[in-house]
């Protein structure tokens, strides 16, 4: 392959995307035909014009135009190439085409490109492409040609170097380097950062962001009363030390790696992975360095000298791909589908560059070839598992598994069986094939020597014993290496039936300059992990800090949390992104350090209120970060907050997933087998929502309504929507009604007067006193609801019986019902479900 990056004329100039900051027309910079990331599109009427003395930036201005309008036909994919012309790198674009060239550096007039994009009769892009260039875009291309047509490597593929921290005039504002990057950009435009949010807002913001839980009334009182200058920093430190921190951050990671409790297709049967989820929580709480965290997941089973239990549990990552047990599923097809799933997840999470399109064709916009896709898939070809599993017998275990006994009794029970099992695997080098055979539904893979070996029957008995043990002893799917990796071929057009393609061995995407397999050494997942966390990989550090930024500020610096490739969004603050990336790497991959830096910055601490002066240039706070963003809490936090406020929240960490209330019949469309939702009882009803059973084909409707993903694929940043179904859920779901009535009972005991009780309740949930108008509204609601329940005998008793929590017998049902309404109101407030 022709490596465009190695050969191209490289002059990385980290110019801030000044122009793109002002490309906010009505479509917010996304005018459809060239939707996404137009630089130089419609210019808002009051935006400052770009000075003609600033050179045009290829990466920030030209690349998006080419990428959105030209590269589909004049790019890396030979199948769609028009006029045999590539415009994605310098040599081709400037090549002599027989007396003329597409681009003549320094002279737009002699450039064929210029002639065609200005030709109204026969324009480029062609009419039938539905793409058009704006006059501003055309002029930018002209200027860029005149200035020498300098191509730069796509910013994300350049190894980040620590940029200089910019000087700022207002030296009093910055709390750390992050703020200087943000402020320097603001000062250029004479924009002030927003004032610091009040203490109470900061308390709620930091507590929800770091722990996913609300502050308790005691925490609120203590913090609001603490007027020492470092009170906030100490708050952040104490939050980072809570176990809730790891639980909350785990949700983010589990979204990325698409963790769930089921296989995700057809039967959608269970696959035990929760010990992996618990390992994630534990590792994040221990602040395991991110390189180690990565290596254990990708290659825990290969770690030297002997993988520990934790390493094996972590290797469950490789087993989180979707799987099917559907009768008639074709093994070769699902081998291809699993490859795609694994490559897509690895590249989405760690590289933030989608390569899945290269399954069928060379990437149209980035220099990723189809061969790259398959060499990447080959890294995962050694993973032993049944391609098409079965929901019965040994197959139901989704082999291979590791028992993770919870106590000595369990350990003692598994010991003899596991000993015999291991002995068999050691004594018979082909026993793994028998195991794979038994774990696969017909048509099955080959047996050693074509038939069941002599020891087969005895071995099968041990596997049956394992199957039996797995019913009572916790276990987790793990990665185990096949002695012989599966063959990976380049599939023409992704056609799994084509067996003529080149057989490939593992290699890093060619354009990224990583290692390749040699005759002496076939690269392993361990090599993949090493390269991923090496300084030669330009993407991983950026990908991680970029989405962390989005987590705490609302939008990542490069707005797509899983796409940094050329079709992604140019970063608003490229130097800040690089500075954070280098800081992350040089800190020893210290996640907590980066999070602490962001959360203790003044940028983070700004008020979230929208501002008149930003309404046109940055209405959604995605470009300047001159304020915070008010964000609806994630699904888990919405429910957990209600449980916490009621005092119902069970704070046990980890363990098998639980089954909180779910509407009847939600699993009715599942089959093979049909299933009843096994609603939990007692404390398991009140576990943090991250422990809710994740049924990929039917995620919990409460979670879905608040935008929790199905975990079928990588989610880098959740959407935040506001819908009527959400309102119905938090108004009427038994989880919320029960929390409200339990909270109501607690409230009724706090004081003698309604007003005092209300103040207490309000502070308890929202860490502040109600305003007079709020007090009046809620007391009126209380009074009216009393009368209504009084007038409808029996109604109060019904309401306060919602949920499993005991109903207090010493409180007047009508009183309790009326306060329940007040609690429901407070739990449904915009302020309650929003962190601002």
């Amino acid at each position: 392959m022709k490596s465009c990056l190695k050969s191209c004329h490289y002059a990385f100039a980290p110019i801030v995307a000044i122009f793109s900051l002002f490309c906010i027309g009505c479509g917010d910079g996304t005018s459809g035909q060239a939707s996404g990331t137009k630089s130089g599109g419609t210019t808002a009427p009051d935006a400052e014009p770009v000075s003609a003395t600033v050179p045009v930036s290829f990466n920030n201005e030209i690349r998006p135009i080419l990428s959105n309008n030209c590269i589909f036909c004049h790019g890396p994919d030979p199948d769609h190439r028009g006029a045999d012309l590539r415009l994605d790198f310098y040599e081709d674009a400037t090549a002599d085409l027989g007396g003329y060239a597409a681009i003549v550096p320094g002279d737009r007039g002699k450039s064929e490109v210029w002639r065609r994009i200005t030709d109204t009769g026969d324009p480029m892009p062609p009419v039938k492409s539905h793409k058009t260039l704006t006059p501003e875009e055309i002029e930018l291309i002209g200027r860029w040609i005149d200035e020498g047509a300098i191509y730069e490597t796509h910013w994300a593929y350049v190894i980040p170097e620590r940029p200089e921290i910019p000087e700022v005039e207002n030296t009093a504002w910055p709390a750390n380097p992050i703020d200087r990057f943000i402020l320097a950009n603001l000062e250029k435009r004479d924009i002030e950062p927003s004032p610091r949010a009040d203490r109470r807002t900061l308390l709620r913001r930091a507590t929800f962001d770091l722990t996913g839980l609300p502050p308790t009334a005691e925490q609120a009182r203590a913090f609001l009363a603490d007027d020492s200058p470092d009170a906030y920093e100490r708050l952040v430190d104490s939050l980072l030390e809570t176990t809730a921190y790891g639980e909350h951050l785990a949700v983010w990671w589990l979204d990325l790696v698409r963790y769930a409790d089921t296989i995700g297709l057809h039967s959608d049967n269970p696959r035990s992975a929760w010990p992996y989820r618990d390992w994630v929580i534990r590792s994040l709480n221990e602040n395991m360095p991110f390189d180690e965290f990565t290596t254990m997941q990708l290659a825990g089973d290969l770690m030297q000298p002997e993988p520990t239990t934790d390493m094996l549990v972590a290797s469950a990552y490789n087993r989180l791909a979707l799987a099917t047990e559907e009768g008639g599923a074709q093994p070769m097809e699902y081998e291809a589908i699993t490859n795609t799933d694994r490559v897509a997840n690895f590249t989405d999470v760690w590289l933030a560059t989608s390569v899945s399109c290269a399954e069928c064709h060379d990437h149209k916009f980035d220099p990723v070839t189809a061969r790259d896709f398959y060499t990447m898939a080959a890294f995962f070809a050694d993973i032993d598992h049944a391609i098409i599993g079965q929901d019965r017998g040994y197959a139901a275990l989704k082999h291979p598994i590791l028992f993770v006994p919870e106590n000595e009794e369990q350990a003692a029970r598994i010991a003899p069986v596991e000993e015999a099992y291991t002995a068999f695997l050691e004594a018979h080098p082909d026993a793994w094939m028998v195991e794979e055979y038994l774990a696969t539904r017909p048509p099955r893979p080959a047996l050693p020597g074509g038939e069941m070996p002599e020891y087969g029957e005895e071995f099968q008995k041990i596997l049956e014993q394992r199957t039996e043990l797995a019913k009572s002893v916790p276990h987790v799917v793990i990665t185990r290496q096949r002695p012989e990796p599966r063959t990976v071929r380049v599939l023409a057009r992704g056609d799994w039936q084509d067996t003529t393609g080149e057989i490939v061995e593992p290699a890093i995407l060619e354009f990224l300059d990583g290692p390749v397999s040699t005759d002496d050494h076939r690269l392993t997942r361990l090599d993949l992990a090493k390269w991923t966390m090496s300084a030669e990989n330009p993407l991983t550090a950026r990908a991680m800090v970029n989405r962390l930024w989005g987590r705490y500020l609302g939008t990542p610096i490069s707005a797509d949390a899983i796409e940094l490739g050329s079709q992604g969004v140019p970063p608003t603050h490229p130097e800040l992104l690089d500075w954070l990336a280098v800081e992350f790497r040089e800190s020893g991959w210290d996640l907590r350090h980066i999070i602490r830096l962001i959360v203790t910055s003044e940028t983070y601490r700004q008020l979230a209120d929208t501002r008149e002066d930003l309404a046109i240039i940055d209405p959604d706070n995605q470009k300047l970060f001159a304020r915070q963003s008010a964000l609806r809490l994630p699904a888990e936090a919405v429910r957990d907050q209600a449980l916490a406020a009621a005092g119902l929240l069970d704070d046990r960490i980890g363990g098998p997933s639980v089954f909180p209330y779910q509407p009847d019949g939600h699993w009715e469309p599942l089959n093979f087998p049909r299933r009843e939702y096994p609603t939990s009882t007692g404390p398991d009803l009140y576990r943090r929502s991250l422990y809710t059973w994740a049924q990929r084909m039917f995620p919990h409707p409460l979670m879905v309504s608040f935008d929790a993903p199905s975990r079928e694929n990588c989610t880098g940043q959740r959407m935040i929507s506001v819908t009527p179904l959400q309102a119905l859920a938090s108004l009427n779901a038994p989880d919320f009604v029960e929390a409200a009535r339990v909270l109501a009972a607690a409230t009724a005991r706090t004081s003698e007067t309604d007003a005092d009780r209300l103040d207490h309740l309000f502070f308890h949930v929202l860490s502040r006193e109600p305003r007079d108008s709020e007090r009046a509204t809620l007391l009126a609601l209380l009074q009216n609801q009393r009368q209504r329940h009084q007038a409808a005998p029996g109604s109060a008793e019904k309401l306060i019986a919602t949920g499993e929590a005991p109903v207090p017998t010493d409180l007047d049902p009508v009183e309790l019902a009326a306060w329940t309404a007040v609690c429901r109101a407070i739990l449904n407030l915009h302020e309650t479900v929003t962190r601002n």
Binding site: I24, C26, G27, D28, T30, G32, Q33, S35, H130, D268, E326, G327, A329, Q330, I337, S354, Q497, T555, D560, A608, D609, T610, A615, P619, P663, E668, P669, L670, N671, R696, M697, P701, L702, V704, S705, D707, S710, E712, M719, V722, P724, Q726, A727, L728, A729, L731, R771, S773, T777, H789, G794, K798, L799, T802, A821, N828, L829, H830, T834, N836
Partner: protein, 488 residues
């Protein structure tokens, strides 16, 4: 005062309008429209439709995708889940009769994907029922469908459907989203995204399920997911047990006035809060609580069949609300009347690997009369002309026997459409004499998608959403085309 964005009405599609309103004028709604918001009785506030749930992550907007006048306003998809046999419904193949029990011609089957017949002998299997010529067109319809036979002059049968997925789960996903990659929007979500809802008091995309006639294949919520589009575009499953829509019922012991008062208080408090905090999402939330309340009122009205004429109910042949396909058909008409954009009924009963004769008999009895009643009912009420009804499965079944049944088949199968500007009394395409390959005018699923969008006034290449850097669309990356021969 900031300059208003320049809005060019001709070029401004719905989604752009939404975006503009959101980013530019949300705050004005807050200060003006809500300045006087006192009670739910205020009713629909201007623009509430445009305010519903906005994604916060970035994403492109489609170009002007409404390129022509729409023939249909809504779609009813009667999804015959499991894959009904085309060879026992709309595609009569006497050649199978003649070759019954004989090896299938190798040129048809060599190298072709198989599902459960992998590794088995491939022998032709005769039609398990009789066919008759129906209507003026004389199209052949099997005797499993005596009612649909009477619709021969109304429907447009496609005998040359082709899909790419040979197993149920991926084939449904492919039909609904145009790809088997997870997290892509389903048809109904694309329609809501592109066209919006016609009745905000009800979900704009409603799914119902029923079963009977064969093993009920699982149907994933993925089939009505909004994928990477905003949550408000997702389909809502209407349940026959419990709350018809999840959480739509007030808690036990809470009367409607109690609930009204509560929601009013919440909105009053949110409105007060908006005076203190400058957060445009507050207005969104107020609007959504209003809508939630109206949905709480509208759903019981929707599911109250007491106003239905008993003769109409008899025509469908159901006890309303009993969860059968027939009851769901009656509900589909009620949903259509109320402006629901995309109505999808799954009948899970067509996976006839064995005993196809018996299975077809049961499934067709559950579906035939009700389908016919629905189409006639829509026609009578003048709804059929702008409602596109689509009937069919995720694939067809093999001309080869699998014991006493047939396996999954993707190279040629049948569906039919009705209303919504498609031809009536028309047969499009054909399979070979064995019913194996679509050899005449094949209609790939993506072309059916393109055609359906066309009938709704949408240019299928322009209704796009930028996801991971790509302008993604229902019809996918391979070229798709509108099948004009299907259109009246």
């Amino acid at each position: 005062m900031h300059p208003q964005p320049r809005l060019e009405p001709v070029l401004l599609d719905r989604a752009q309008a939404e975006r503009c309103l959101l980013s530019q004028t949300r705050r004005k709604f807050l200060t003006s429209a809500f300045g006087s918001l006192g009670s739910l009785a205020l009713g629909t506030m201007a623009g509430s439709r445009l305010i519903a749930g906005t994604p916060k992550t970035h994403g492109g907007l489609p170009a002007n995708f409404l390129t022509h006048a729409a023939k249909a306003k809504r779609v009813i998809h009667l999804c015959m889940a499991g894959g009904p046999s085309h060879l026992e419904s709309f595609d009569y193949k006497p050649e199978l009769e003649r070759n019954h029990g004989k090896e299938m011609p190798g040129h048809l089957t060599a190298g072709q994907p198989l599902a459960q017949l992998q590794g088995h002998a491939l022998k032709a299997f005769r039609p398990q029922t009789t066919f008759r010529k129906c209507g003026e067109s004389g199209m052949e319809i099997s005797d499993f469908f005596p009612h649909i036979q009477t619709l021969a002059d109304d429907i447009c049968v496609v005998r040359s459907m082709v899909t790419e997925q040979i197993n149920h789960d991926p084939a449904h996903t492919y039909f609904n989203t145009g790809t088997i990659r997870p997290n892509h929007p389903s048809i109904g979500s694309w329609l809501l995204y592109g066209l919006g809802s016609m009745n905000e008091n009800l979900p704009g995309f409603v799914v119902l399920t029923s079963e009977g006639g064969g093993q009920a294949q699982p149907i994933s919520a993925r089939q009505w997911s909004a994928g990477f589009l905003a949550g408000k575009y997702q389909g809502v499953k209407l349940n026959s047990i419990g709350d018809p829509v999840y959480y739509v019922g007030s808690p036990d012991g809470v009367s409607t006035p109690c609930q009204t008062e509560l929601i009013e208080a919440i909105n009053q408090l949110n409105q007060d809060h908006a005076k203190v905090v400058d957060d445009p999402d507050i207005s969104d939330r107020i609007a959504q609580y209003e809508l939630a309340f109206r949905m709480q009122m509208a759903v019981p009205e929707l599911t109250d069949f007491s106003t239905e004429d008993p003769r109409v109910i008899a025509e469908y042949g159901c006890t309303p609300g009993d969860g059968t396909f027939a009851s769901n058909c009656l509900m589909a008409r009620r949903l259509a009347e109320r402006g629901v954009r995309f109505i999808q009924l799954y009948h899970r009963g067509w996976d006839h690997h064995g005993q196809i004769k018996r299975g077809m008999g049961v499934a067709s009895k559950l579906v035939d009369q009700a389908t016919t009643a629905l189409i006639r009912d829509l026609k009578r009420r003048g709804l059929l002309e702008d409602t596109l009804v689509i009937w069919g499965g995720e694939f067809g079944r093999t001309p080869m026997a699998q014991g006493t049944g047939r396996d999954h088949h993707i190279k040629g199968y049948s569906m039919f459409m009705c209303g919504g500007g498609v031809k009536s009394g028309h047969v499009h395409g054909a399979t070979d004499e064995f019913g194996y390959n679509a050899i005449e005018d094949p209609v790939h699923v993506r072309n059916l998608h393109a055609t359906m969008l066309h009938q709704l006034g949408i240019h299928h290449e322009r209704l796009t959403f930028q996801h991971q850097g790509l302008d993604t669309k229902l019809t996918g990356v391979e070229p798709a085309k509108v099948i004009h021969q299907l259109l009246a």
